[in-house]
Amino acid sequence: MAGVRDIRRRIRSVRNMQQITKAMKMVSAAKLRKAQQKLNAARPYAHQLQGVLERLSQVPGDTVHPLLIKRPVQKVVYVVITSDRGLCGGYNSNLIRKTAGLIAETPQEVKLVTVGRKGRDFFRRGKIEFLAEFVALGDEPSYNQAKEIAQEVVRLYEQGEADEVYLMYTEFVSAINARPTQVKLLPIEKPEGKQSKQYIFEPSPDEILASLLPKYVETQIFRSILEGKASEQGARMTAMSSATDNAKDMIDRLSLIMNRARQAAITKEISEIVGGAAALD
């Protein structure tokens, strides 16, 4: 049995760790709240943009925008949104596992665009080629960061580096529940909407569509980054919460062992004294 002093040392180190996980849990709870707020703030815009796109799709146009054209698929690009930091439970590994599974099932040539350090580090070990990588988005990603990613993705698509683009991200369901999700980003599927009112368009519907579609891609990426951020903080909070609980269990167990060892030591000492005294008599 380990000495009392060794056990005490271990308890102390576990307690220190518990303090850290507890602090991380509270920090991520605060960040989760912020991330959720940003996610909710982005919703009305995304919703309205979708609406305008639907309305625009009603207009019979003669020109078709390149981002809407379906091409024979030879090259597929996955945009994988992961976090920059670890210690967030299964957040990254769940998404990466799903992505890797999908890639294995894709018969076409697959390339990657990674967002976040964790995804990049994982896929770097594989054989799949990277077209772009974005890291260090921070805890509060801005729209401009999403825009940058979107512009790169659109550029790849227009140059024929990709015939289809999928977005892989973690959808935020609740603080303890997040779902790895795949959505098709490009070509954009024209939404089917019901016939609506006659609109005046200024400039022409085609021109509006041409400036709207890239924005649509931007908002989709922005939203999935925000979803990912919220999921990440939720996952981290849950992971840190259970780590704190585990540390508590460990301390309890170690305390028990330590007390027992101390008791044994005392008993031994007493019996030695008693034995010694008996020998003197």
């Binding site: 609406g51 309305r55 006659q198 368009f201 200024e202």
Partner: protein
């Protein structure tokens, strides 16, 4: 001229404004658009510029940078890339940005830089113009 209509400005970062207004002027891509209550359904592209609206006789200004506007059923929804209410604008920062953009334009290097600088310059100018309305 009767009544008001609802004006909503949303940006990707959140809701900026929701108010019942009497009249609004939107910087459209092909020129300014004046919107009165009961306007016909409209979808228009928006330029960088200043959006003005009248409420109880007072004129308020919002600096917007590109996007769209949809008018339907007596409400106007502005989808702006960015939108700043005049009272939220930091004039000193906007002026700084304008100077920076001007300087970059005077020492032109390559195509993309010029476009970005021009964009920044116009945005800064719109912000300064929008903030004129504030005390």
């Amino acid at each position: 001229m009767a009544g008001t209509f609802s004006l909503r400005i949303v940006s990707p970062e959140g809701n900026v404004l929701k108010e019942d207004v009497e009249f609004a002027v939107i910087p459209g891509e092909l020129g300014e658009l004046g919107i009165l209550p009961n306007h016909a359904p409209l979808i228009a592209g928006m330029d960088i510029g200043v959006l003005r609206y009248n409420l109880n006789g007072a004129v308020k200004r919002v600096a917007v940078a590109g996007g769209f506007v949809e008018v339907i059923e007596n409400s106007a929804i502005v989808l702006a890339d960015t939108a700043e209410l005049s009272e939220d604008i930091d004039v000193a920062r906007a002026q700084e940005a304008r100077e920076r953009a001007k300087k970059r334009l005077s020492t032109r290097t390559n195509e993309i830089d010029v476009r970005r600088a021009e964009y920044a310059l116009r945005r800064a100018a719109a912000r300064i113009e929008a903030s004129v309305g504030k005390k």
